[in-house]
């Protein structure tokens, strides 16, 4: 039952909003209105083109670092039962990964390129 609720609630919510938008929409805009708003600027191209995302090293670092979460959630559940052993082990694991973060910080990864 919990699983059914978990799947049904977002599904119904999404359908509700889609239906609401469809009912309320009054869409008969003319061409000048459909032109993307650009704050008075003149558009020379469409927006979907190659784009230099300035924080890409941070994104790559995150993919590697975020894996640690997969290990941390089960660890958190047994932490109190296992006691000091769990503390030492996760301390070691996080120290290893924190080294990576410190290195990346010193290399200037967290500034926009």
């Amino acid at each position: 039952m919990d699983l059914a609720n978990l799947l049904l609630i977002p599904l119904i919510a999404a359908v509700l909003i889609l239906a609401l938008e469809k009912c309320l929409r009054r869409n008969h805009s003319s061409y000048p209105q459909a032109r993307p708003y650009s704050g008075g600027g003149d558009l020379s191209s469409h927006a979907w083109c190659r784009f230099h995302v300035r924080y890409y090293p941070m994104a790559l670092l995150l993919i590697a670092f975020e894996m640690e979460m997969m290990f941390m959630y089960p660890w958190a559940v047994v932490y109190v039962a296992e006691g000091i052993k769990a503390l030492m082990e996760m301390g070691m694991f996080l120290t290893i990964l924190a080294l990576g973060i410190v290195y990346a910080w010193r290399e200037g990864v967290f500034r926009w390129q």
């Binding site: 090293p57 975020e66 559940v77 082990e89 290195y103």
Partner: protein
Amino acid sequence: MVGIWTDITFYLCAAIAVFSGWRVFRTDSMVRASFLLLISFLAVGVIMLLLAAVYLGTALFFMMAVEMMVMALFMVMFMMNPAGLNPMNMVHQPWVAALLGFAVFTGLSLVAVYGEFPANPAPADLDPVRSLGRELLGDSMLVFESAGIALLATMIGTVVLSSHRGRYGPANEGSEPPGLDPGGPPAKSAAQKQQQREEQKEQEEDKQDHDQ
């Protein structure tokens, strides 16, 4: 009653997973492709939830959401035409690949149909999260810690390879791009081109002044 609904959900999710996995390679819009792959992962995550792998299912949601978000960013960075406004077809050896893919599918399906696997389901009172946690702190401690080392190596590797700015200045200082055709003169960067253009303009202006 519950069993029927589980089956319906399973077949629905399986269809979504395979179909969106297939559409990944058929859509023109690269951003759509990466989010189609995300949908495939989400559907597999729901199947995992149905199999009572509660932790793996939910964790798959957030891991894959991050990975596909980054994937979409890199699509935009590297594709000439990330939205696929003009249809394009960037494939090589499509028939060989399709044949091999189909062969692997058939082989694995035959194994699935004719192979004999022990029917040994997980006990109903198993707490998947807790047993996993005990495993991490017990027998598999070495696996867990060496995963940490591997991730550290990955982090350092990505920083070294991808960061534009090294500690001692720009990473590509002193290097020049390769030629546009093999063995040709190096391709100019945008800044160099701009500089050249400005120099040319100045020369022309000088010339005009001179003429007057």
